[in-house]
């Protein structure tokens, strides 16, 4: 065996034979191990408490697969954990589908699944079933990951994008655009001063804390692709309400803002992976804000705007200098300006 075949993923690893078995039992299982997965059956069998369930799936095809502050693995776990949490649910079990391109270095693979295991631990969810496929070189881009998950919704909780009411306050749990800018700079090999790191993080503990405090919450949503601007537009049209944001209150890190300025990007449209938007009745806004701020991932939270009955379906921004402008949905990918 030459060095190449020793150190990279081969088609054999996905063929269902010895190599597949070794990959699973030697590399994956020890990291993901739990009573359900260890059973080794085709699917997971588990019991759930009575009540309402949330179910979500997402596929991760990010390029590059490693970036400052994380990799495709923890992103895939956190992403699904957050999607379930945004339904007001407590995530319990997730599944993992790995599609690997032949030739992926084993070390990279190992690092990715290691961070998946760590992320699952941190979120307190179990990876109970999964699947691995290897496709020929060129048929995938290094590695694609699908994660699906289920969670239980505590009694009395009822959050939905259609429940925002005029008078509600809009809370953002931290600085905007960190993830998108980290990916962009990693992908393009751009070097800037300052620490540009993804914010990828599990938000389920934060959500649990908010919901168990007894505070009323109308909407929870994580502003991933399309950023805060697009997400709020979706909620505004789902709920048939207007929104006003205040530029002076929008949290953003200086270096992130600097890159946005330079490239002509609007941070309101750049992806986040560890932030949530909470829309809550005015009288509870400061309490919810304090709860979020008490969480590890919510230190820079701020009330960024309010829900109105003006111009339903539209989001406006009051600029720092007192002007006003529309914040529309993002159309297409933002492209850097020419000079």
């Amino acid at each position: 065996m030459n060095a190449e075949t020793n150190n990279t993923i081969l088609l054999d690893h996905g063929a269902g034979g010895k190599a597949s078995h070794a990959l699973f039992s030697k590399m994956i299982l020890p990291l993901f191990s739990n009573e359900y997965l260890d059973m080794g059956d085709d699917g997971a069998v588990y019991s759930v408490p009575a009540g309402r369930m949330a179910f979500s799936t997402d596929s991760y095809v990010v390029d590059p697969i490693f970036f400052n502050g994380g990799n495709i693995g923890d992103l895939a776990v956190n992403g699904t954990v957050n999607d379930i949490a945004m339904c007001g649910a407590i995530p319990l079990y997730i599944s993992v589908g790995l599609i690997i391109e032949e030739g992926l270095p084993i070390n990279d693979f190992q690092e990715i699944i290691k961070s998946m295991a760590t992320a699952a631990d941190r979120a307190g969810v179990k990876i109970v079933t999964g699947d691995t496929k290897v496709v020929p070189r060129g048929k995938a881009d290094k590695i694609f990951i699908n994660t699906s998950g289920v969670g239980m919704i505590p009694e009395g909780v009822n959050v939905s994008g259609s429940r925002a009411l005029p008078g509600d306050k809009i809370i953002l749990s931290g600085t905007m655009a960190d993830h998108g800018i980290a990916i962009l700079t990693a992908r393009e090999g751009l070097t800037f001063d300052g620490d540009l790191k993804t914010d990828s993080a599990p938000l389920n503990h934060m959500v649990k804390m908010i919901l168990s405090s007894g505070c009323e919450v109308h909407v929870l949503r994580d502003p991933t692709r399309g950023g805060v601007g697009t997400t709020l537009n979706e909620i505004a049209s789902q709920s048939g309400v207007g929104m006003t944001l205040f530029e002076k209150d929008l949290p953003i890190k200086k270096p992130v803002n600097g890159v946005c300025e330079l490239l002509g990007f609007d941070p309101l449209y750049i992806a986040n992976e560890g932030k949530l938007l909470a829309i809550v009745p005015e009288k509870q806004a400061s309490k919810v804000l304090d709860l979020i701020k008490a969480d590890t991932f919510g230190k820079n939270a701020a009330i960024i705007g309010e829900v109105t009955d003006q111009r339903p379906g539209k989001v406006f921004l009051e600029t720092a200098i007192g002007g006003q402008r529309l914040v529309d949905m993002l159309t297409g990918e933002q492209l850097p300006r020419i000079c």
Partner: protein, 361 residues
């Protein structure tokens, strides 16, 4: 205190003072044109239009390099991307501009090797890494970008990177202003002149246009305070009846600009005529590779068989770029033409007037 340099140019109380002064002093009805697309975007992003008095109308000018790229040039970029063994490199914005058939983004989707770069030097690097391919850079942009493109050509020449070339569609700003002023129907009471361009050209470059047409002109930067300050200066010039060419951006722009950058630019390029989308041919407003650098001219390398094509029917980009119309007055605006289904470049470019109206309306 504690304001950083940038925050000072966004300081709400400073802005308020400027806005109050503009409201107090502005009596005449004024049509002011921001020439540069980055100004257009900043004006919309900071919500400047709706804090100005009704006396002032802001018009977007021919200062977005994407918007003014002639359809024929876009067609040429697309045609190059269809050639075998070619990598087309371009700045992001250009990807979505419709040619007569398709866009560079469409070509990429269809399998052509089209790559977005952040700097022309990245294109040279790609050429070095792919010696078996021809790497063509779509050269659009004004005085701001031309010196860098020239520097890249010089570097490629020095290092004998022979598989790198540019397809040139670069343009100069002052000739466009002069052309505007002699176009029938155009009425402009003041120019907000581009900050980035002027860093290279200096104040001097606008002197002859100013002397001929006596339009109040102020060079300024891209922060809200810069823009409001320029508007106030233009109001004052108009109210006092004394037009002037002023520099409100001295922190970046010198009288003579950046002679070194211009030297590099003229070492590689010579002035020629250029076709502006929606406007037509403007004499001496373009840049051509000098004979010594013809080896880097992509246009000479490929048989592209381009035919002259009409610009899309109904698109009012030209009139918009000349301040004759606003986007809402275009029959296609928001109906047929949206950022998802753009008809004209003004709707595609992140600096385009139609896109600004659409996104920030």
């Amino acid at each position: 205190m504690g304001l950083t340099y940038l925050e000072k140019f966004r300081d709400p109380s400073l802005a308020k003072n400027l806005v109050t002064a503009i409201h107090k002093e502005s009596r005449l009805t004024l049509r002011l044109m921001e020439v540069c697309g980055t100004h257009t975007m900043a004006i919309f992003r900071h919500g400047i239009r709706n804090i100005l008095p009704e006396t002032i109308t802001l018009l977007s000018g021919p200062g977005c390099p994407v918007c003014v790229t002639a359809q024929k040039d876009i067609d040429a970029f697309v045609a190059v991307s269809r050639q075998p063994d070619v990598i087309v490199t371009t700045f992001g914005d250009l990807m979505r501009v419709p040619g007569s058939g398709t866009t560079l983004a469409g070509q990429k989707g269809a399998g052509a090797d089209v790559r977005m770069v952040y700097s022309v030097f990245d294109a040279v690097t790609i050429a070095r890494q792919n010696p078996e391919k021809q790497v063509v850079f779509c050269a659009v942009g004004f005085e701001t970008t031309i010196p860098t493109i020239a520097a890249a050509v010089l570097m490629a020449a020095k290092e004998k990177v022979t598989n790198f070339s540019i397809y040139g569609a670069n343009k100069l700003t002052p000739p466009a202003l002069a052309a505007l002023m002699t176009t029938p129907g155009v009425s402009i009471d003041g120019f907000i002149l581009p900050g980035h361009v002027s860093v290279i050209t200096g104040v001097d470059a606008y002197r002859s246009v100013f002397e001929t047409h006596k339009v109040p002109s102020v060079i300024t930067g891209f922060e809200p305070i810069d823009i409001l300050h320029a508007v106030l200066m233009l109001v004052r010039q108009n109210e006092s009846g004394v037009p002037a060419l002023e520099n409100a951006y001295p922190r970046a722009v010198r009288e003579s600009g950046n002679p070194k950058a211009r030297e590099v630019m003229h070492q590689v390029f010579t002035v020629g005529d250029a076709a502006w989308r929606g406007i037509g041919l403007i004499k001496n407003s373009g840049m051509e590779l000098k004979p010594d650098f013809k080896a880097f001219d992509a246009g000479a390398q490929f048989e592209l068989n381009l035919t002259d094509v009409a610009e899309p029917k109904g698109c009012a980009c030209g009139e918009i770029l000349m301040g004759l119309k606003t986007p809402v007055a275009c029959a296609l605006y928001k109906k047929v033409c949206t950022p998802m289904t753009p008809v004209g470049p003004c709707m595609v470019s992140s600096e385009g007037a139609c896109a600004a109206y659409y996104n920030y309306g």
